[in-house]
Symmetry: C2
Subunit: 119 residues, 2 copies
């Protein structure tokens, strides 16, 4: 059993899966394989600054997302858009293209969990 507070975990500049940095987006890997031995999936805490967008991207891993604060928009490349706030949940399927925009005046903050895919 391991306990942390999210503030104790380093808040790093985020990068897309291909390594592209995304300015004004920060990520804390709250629970992961490296630090916790969590081999099945990882819990990440994302902070997107106002007027910031994470561009459309995709990968084999799905995402399970829980919104903590702020106001954001999730969208895909088929014209789907979802406006979200605290208590909303988003599921993004494997390989589904997705983008995220902070549409509020405060930081847009959410948990985003991602599997460690097995061979």
């Amino acid at each position: 059993m391991r306990k942390k507070n999210y503030k104790q975990v380093e808040n790093k500049p985020a990068v897309l899966v291909d390594g592209t940095p995304v300015e004004n987006v920060y990520v804390r890997w709250l629970i992961d394989k490296e630090h916790d031995g969590a081999n099945n999936f990882a819990m990440r805490h994302f902070e997107i600054k106002p007027k910031t967008e994470v561009p459309l991207h995709s990968h084999p891993q799905d995402h399970e997302i829980y919104i903590l604060s702020g106001e954001g928009k999730f969208y895909n490349d088929s014209g789907m858009e979802e406006i979200v706030e605290n208590g909303d949940v988003i599921y993004i399927s494997p390989y589904e293209k997705h983008g995220i925009t902070n549409i509020g005046k405060t930081d847009f903050i959410f948990l985003c969990l991602i599997p460690y895919l097995k061979e």
Copy 2:
């Protein structure tokens, strides 16, 4: 991409992995295989009423937990205890025995994610 609010998901009486009901504990399966096609892991929202305890139990799945509100205690069978509140994170390893007590005056509410183990 699927969006829900946690309140839209049915709040069911919780049971332990062996099917034992736990009184005054409620669970919402926010993202799961059955409703969302999430095959890697599930996101559950737990609500433990005041003066309620989830007894020690264990299973092959690990848990990744994020505390949303209230005050609780996580413990194992080796004398470890962790008092937690909003913003705290708990990782419980596969097969580690764990119990949970609401030690506050309000509902103790957290997200608890669990993998769908592959063969």
